[in-house]
Every structure is written in structure tokens, then in C-alpha cells.
């Protein structure tokens, strides 16, 4: 069982693009997310660490508008979630599941998402995104015939084909080889330079800290640590994180 954990607020300077106040989600009697406060400005990247079952995925699903909070509020671009089409138009979600249709080809999957998001010249955008994820040569292959890693690349292309302003990533590097990971990193860096806000859930501290402007640790549904990445020592952070997770589990 997890012991009592101190709660901290995550807030960065600037007008918040992603904001949560007392965000809570319960399943039955269990609080998966427990009073999370969060504020991220445009261009911020939050690396979110935490042990299994800490509530990271539930938090991302609430920020994506796929889960209703039991209490508290979340806002994307100033609009309170779950919001409507205007919020969903600016969010991209990469989750554990690929969200792809196995019987459709890679191009058809990405093009379908592009059309639903109203992307102009959806086919060209889909092919462009597949090229960026270095999977263009398999564009006409049914997704069910692709390896797990290639499916992950297509899934990332699907989530980013509409150039989202807020990208929520749940273990996006899992299953990717070095080339896929590099392609994803490049795409995310480019999105950030255009002002996109990223929330990156990962168990790999090095991967997360390399890309993030802020780092937070979630435990038992709460944020228990929050730092700016330029202020922290990666080695010391890793040691503290391991201690936190060990103590909490």
C-alpha cells in the first residue's frame, strides 16, 4: 500500500495552455487521480514519472477529454474540459493502445484521422506524417501486418497529423527502435518550437528529462514532486525518484 504522500502543485510561468485544479477521478472507491493541480504554458513540456498505477494514464485521459473528472476542473486553451469539438481539435493523444484499425492500411488510418480533424489535403498530410515517422515505405500495408514498432510509428503519425497544440503522450517510445525514437523526438521538438505543449508520461528518466522543460513525479494519484529541468541534476533526480518509488510501493 502507498503511504501518505505530500501534494505539490505544478505551475509554470505564462498564460496556461493546460490547466487543472483539484482534478480528481475515482473508480469505485479508489482515487486514481487525487486533487491534481497543474499549469503549463504554450511550449512547455512536462515529463511525468511515477510507478505503475500512480494515475498517470488516467490523468492523460482526463486531459484528452476521454474521461470525466469526478471532481475538479481541467482547461485546455482556456476551455473547460471535457469541452467540445474546439478542444478536441487541438489535442493529440498517443496512448498504450495504437487506436488503429488493423484492416486499414497505414495511410488510410492516418488519412481518416486527418479528415476527421478537417486537415486540408488529408492524403498529402497523411503521407507527409508517415514520411516523418519513417514508415512511408509501408504506407499501403494493412496495419495488422506491421510489427509492433511500426504500428507505434503509424499511431504517432495518426495522433500528430493535425499538428495539435497540446500533445499527450503515454509511453510513446515503447516499442520504437532508435530510428523511430529519433523521428518521434524530432517531431516533438518541432511541435514545441511552434508552441505546442507536451505532457510526456514515461518510465525512462533519461528520455523524459532530455526533452522536458519540467519534470513531475506522480504517486498514489498525486503530484509529489515538481521541478524545472534546467534546475535539476539528472543523477541526483534519478536517485531521489528511485527512493520515492521504493518508499511508496
Amino acid at each position: 500500500m502507498t503511504g501518505a504522500v505530500e501534494r505539490v502543485s505544478v505551475a509554470s510561468a505564462g498564460e496556461p495552455e493546460v490547466e487543472a485544479r483539484g482534478l480528481t477521478r475515482t473508480f469505485g472507491g479508489r482515487r486514481a487521480v487525487d486533487g491534481v493541480d497543474l499549469s503549463l504554458a504554450a511550449g512547455d513540456c512536462l515529463a511525468l514519472f511515477g510507478p505503475n498505477g500512480a494515475g498517470k494514464t488516467t490523468l492523460l485521459r482526463m486531459l484528452a477529454g476521454l474521461l470525466k473528472p469526478s471532481a475538479g476542473t481541467a482547461r485546455i486553451g482556456g476551455v473547460t474540459l471535457p469541452g467540445g469539438e474546439e478542444v478536441r481539435a487541438v489535442v493529440g493523444l498517443i496512448s498504450h493502445a495504437s487506436m488503429l484499425y488493423g484492416a486499414l492500411t497505414a495511410r488510410e488510418n492516418v488519412e481518416f484521422a486527418a479528415r476527421l480533424h478537417g486537415v486540408r489535403d488529408a492524403r498529402r498530410a497523411a503521407l507527409g506524417m508517415l514520411e516523418r515517422m519513417r514508415v512511408l515505405d509501408r504506407a499501403d500495408t494493412p496495419v495488422r501486418s506491421l510489427s509492433r514498432g511500426l504500428q507505434q510509428r503509424v499511431s504517432i503519425a495518426r495522433a500528430m497529423v493535425h499538428s495539435p497544440r497540446v500533445v499527450l503522450l503515454d509511453e510513446p517510445f515503447s516499442g520504437l527502435d532508435a530510428a523511430g525514437a529519433a523521428a518521434l523526438t524530432n517531431a516533438l521538438v518541432e511541435l514545441r518550437t511552434h508552441g505546442a505543449t507536451l505532457v510526456l508520461v514515461t518510465h525512462n528518466l533519461g528520455e523524459g528529462l532530455e526533452m522536458a522543460s519540467h519534470a513531475a513525479v506522480m504517486q498514489a494519484g498525486r503530484f509529489v514532486r515538481f521541478e524545472r529541468c534546467d534546475e535539476l541534476d539528472a543523477a541526483a533526480y534519478a536517485a531521489t525518484y528511485r527512493e520515492l518509488v521504493t518508499r511508496g510501493s
Partner: protein, 227 residues
């Protein structure tokens, strides 16, 4: 620009039909079920006791109902694999568009099963559809819209449950009764060569239920996909 509700519905329907066209699993299951059921009814039928003309409407609508359920069950289950439903729900389209898209694809699916079943029934029961085929196709279309409207909603509700294949018929069949009854009555009158106007009252009832079910189910759908 984000597609309109109808535009998004057409995109979703086209996607569903493309998947079904590639896999053909549900269509083959439903078509084979329909043909087998027609054959079994044929062998169980005693032509000296009941005329083919009297039996055919009942056989048709029993088959349409159960073959349709096979397709309706697949409607949302294909979204559960790899959580594709999250991609749909995360898209900037109204929830009603998702319902409408699924329902449109289901109408085409059930319509295709009907297109195979009607000639088979005509053949086995020696029923003269000839001059009335257009009117019968109209009855079938109206009834299909009603069945699909209800079935698509319940498919969305049942898909996340452990017993979805059992739950869907249990939820849907009571609501199918007000659709199947006027459809069978109108079909019987048309098949027996009575004037079309005699079937008109049943068609009005069918149309009324279609309107009520489509409107109510479309309004209810967003609540079934909220978590």
C-alpha cells in the same frame, strides 16, 4: 475545416464499410445464417397446412432481425480492438456524427443481407415478388432504419460488457417488436396482392417509429460513450 456532422458520419460509415469489405467476416456470417435459416424453415414447413404466401413475411422478418443482430454486434466491437474508439471520441466531431456514421454503415450491411434473403425466400416459398418488389424494398428500408437505429445504440451500450453478444439481443429485441410487426403486416399485404393502400397504415406506423427511434437514439448516444 472540421467536417460537418453529416460529413463526419459519411467518413465513419465509409471507414466501417471499407473494413467490412476487406474482412467480410460479419457479412458472410449474416448471409450464411440467413440462407441456412431460410432452408431450415423450408424443411420445417408443411405446405398443406400453411400457404407459402402466409409464411414468407414471418420468415423474412425473423431472418432480417437475427441476421441484422450479427452485424450490429460487430459495429462497435471493431472499435474496441486497439481502442480505436478513443481516436473517434478524441476527434473534433459531434458524438451524434459517430452514431449516425455507425448507423449508416449498419443500414448498408443489413440491406445487403436483405438483398440476398429476399430472392432466396421468393425462390423457396414460390412467392411472386415480381410486381411488388419496389414496394417491398421500401418496407424493408423503413424497417431496417428502425432496427438499426435501436440496434446501433444498444451495440454501443453492450460492447463494453462481458456478455455483449447476449446483452445486445436481450436489450434490442423488445424494441424491435414495434418495427417488425408493422413491417411483417405490410409485407404480407403486399405479397398477397392487396392494394398498396392497405399496407399504407402499417407503413405510417413504421415511419412514426423510425422517426421516434432515430431521434431518441441519437440524443441518447452521447451518454453511452461518456466514461
Amino acid at each position: 475545416m472540421v467536417p460537418s456532422t453529416l460529413g463526419a458520419a459519411l467518413l465513419i460509415a465509409r471507414k466501417d464499410l471499407a473494413i467490412e469489405f476487406r474482412t467480410r467476416t460479419a457479412f458472410f456470417s449474416a448471409a450464411v445464417f440467413a440462407l441456412l435459416a431460410i432452408v431450415i424453415f423450408f424443411f420445417a414447413w408443411d405446405p398443406t397446412a400453411v400457404a407459402g404466401m402466409d409464411l414468407a413475411p414471418g420468415v423474412l422478418w425473423v431472418i432480417f432481425t437475427f441476421a441484422g443482430l450479427l452485424g450490429l454486434n460487430r459495429s462497435f466491437s471493431l472499435e474496441l480492438a486497439d481502442r480505436a474508439i478513443d481516436g473517434l471520441l478524441g476527434a473534433p466531431v459531434r458524438r451524434e456524427a459517430i452514431y449516425l456514421g455507425k448507423a449508416l454503415a449498419n443500414v448498408v450491411f443489413v440491406g445487403a443481407v436483405e438483398a440476398i434473403s429476399i430472392p432466396a425466400v421468393a425462390l423457396f416459398y414460390n412467392t411472386p415478388f415480381g410486381g411488388r418488389w419496389l414496394a417491398i424494398a421500401g418496407v424493408a428500408l423503413l424497417a431496417t432504419i428502425g432496427l438499426v437505429a435501436v440496434g446501433t445504440l444498444f451495440s454501443a451500450m453492450a460492447v463494453n460488457t462481458r456478455l455483449s453478444e447476449l446483452l445486445l439481443p436481450m436489450l434490442s429485441l423488445p424494441f424491435f417488436v414495434p418495427i417488425v410487426m408493422p413491417a411483417a403486416q405490410a409485407t404480407a399485404r403486399l405479397l398477397s396482392g392487396r392494394p398498396v393502400v392497405e399496407a399504407a397504415n402499417w407503413l405510417k406506423i413504421l415511419l412514426a417509429f423510425d422517426l421516434v427511434f432515430v431521434a431518441a437514439c441519437m440524443m441518447a448516444f452521447p451518454f453511452t460513450v461518456e466514461e
